[in-house]
Symmetry: C2
Subunit: 227 residues, 2 copies
DNA sequence: TTATTGTTAACTGTTGACAGTTAACTCTCC
DNA sequence: GGAGAGTTAACTGTCAACAGTTAACAATAA
């Protein structure tokens, strides 16, 4: 029997489209978002856009100020705060994954690492970024904790956004990243929760340091988007 | 000059009202939520209710199934998952608070504990519950990590909901709770991050155990709302 | 020129209407 | 009596319109 394609509701489509556009920097941090314009651009009604905007506001990707909505514009402290939270959640994720991960998921991780090494040799920054995300997603999924996965959705939207729009990821940082991943993978393979947790925490701590130096480099450049 | 009272937007008011009603069990877990009815009850238009529903869905207090929305109905695993996340976030909260808490906030905590002891003597369960929440909120605020506070908003809505609607808090559990709080308070007063973190983790672990036994007691009662 | 006051134009908040879909409830006809 | 078609009623998805607010800009007076 042929699958019937029920079209996804418009408001949901608008949500995903606008979210992606924010992530890609198509809408700039701090930029004002206007219902009317988005509605016109996408060819839908204002009410539909409104629903999407409410959801994006809950994601913290839009923020209300006075009566208008603006694209999220994190300051330096926000970024530190986000990484601090991430450290805690990713450690938990690794710990739980060490208990619950399947052999198949371990294989997936191994493959991701292998591909990462190849991408590192090129080097292919775009691919490294996406593989990095995939690595963490796989572990989160392997934790089998739905609530944790939901919390990641909130925090990861911001992390990705920061990476894309605020920091310009420098390729030299990826080498450390991949070797960290390898250590985490080994801990998971040994199914050692404490070790996985510890390695993950160190890993996030290291990425924070990378972000931090990138951040302070940007502080020097006066035309930077970060004030 | 006289303050001008700008009325809060309707959709926001509806959000808070419906959220509260869900928390209080005025809408039952698993119950279907109908835009039309809520709109009529509150005397606002459907579009307004829609916006509130979108926000509640993001909070996970409503869940979409097919084309309809239902009140969140966590299963036993969800509850364990939530407490696992909470353990991680609350520990972080305590650790950061130990670094950043002000003397005034320490006084607040001390007062909360004193009131808790009084309420424990009565015993006044309602008050104990609200003081418990206040204790944790104060620490979260003292952490000065805005992202963490936002994550708590997501998770706490569920925790409160579970406490109110799923578990019936038994008063005997509160004694342990208050003495735990006292230990955490002392660690914060000494401004010892590691100790605060450790005490908090143990505390949440203990509340999980309380929840767990309450849960299994309920499993025996066949007319329970938990399947 | 600088303030102050109109005057639009641009938006947001809210609503009521309409189309399409699903669910429930008949009413047949076997 | 029961399977299947027909008929409503109940909802959701989407939109267009209107009122109220704010912001920008022009016009006028000091």
């Amino acid at each position: 029997m042929r699958e019937i394609k029920k079209t996804e509701p418009l408001h949901s489509q608008v949500y995903h489209i606008v979210k992606e556009m924010i992530m890609e920097g198509k809408y700039q941090p701090g930029e004002r978002m206007v219902e009317t314009k988005v509605a016109e651009n996408l060819g839908v009604s204002r009410g539909t856009v409104r629903e999407a905007f409410r959801m994006l506001t809950k994601d913290d990707l839009l923020a209300q100020k006075e009566n208008s909505l603006f694209v999220y514009h994190p300051d330096a402290q926000d970024i530190l705060d986000i990484y601090e939270c991430r450290k805690s959640l990713e450690s938990l994720s690794a710990k739980l994954a060490a208990r619950n991960i399947t052999d198949q998921q371990l294989e997936q991780l191994e493959q991701i690492i292998n591909e990462s090494k190849k991408a590192l040799a090129m080097p292919d920054t775009q691919k490294l970024t996406s593989l990095n995300q995939k690595f963490h997603d796989t572990i989160a999924f392997a934790s089998r904790n739905k609530q944790l996965i939901q919390l990641f959705e909130v925090i990861n939207a911001k992390v990705l956004y920061i990476r894309n729009c605020i920091l310009k990821e420098r390729s030299e940082s990826f080498a450390v990243l991949v070797s960290d991943h390898e250590e985490i993978f080994l801990a998971l393979k040994e199914r050692d929760p404490a070790k996985a947790e510890e390695k993950m925490e160190a890993h996030i701590q290291r990425s924070l340091k990378v972000a931090n130096t990138a951040l302070s480099k940007q502080m020097d450049e006066p035309e930077s988007s970060l004030g």
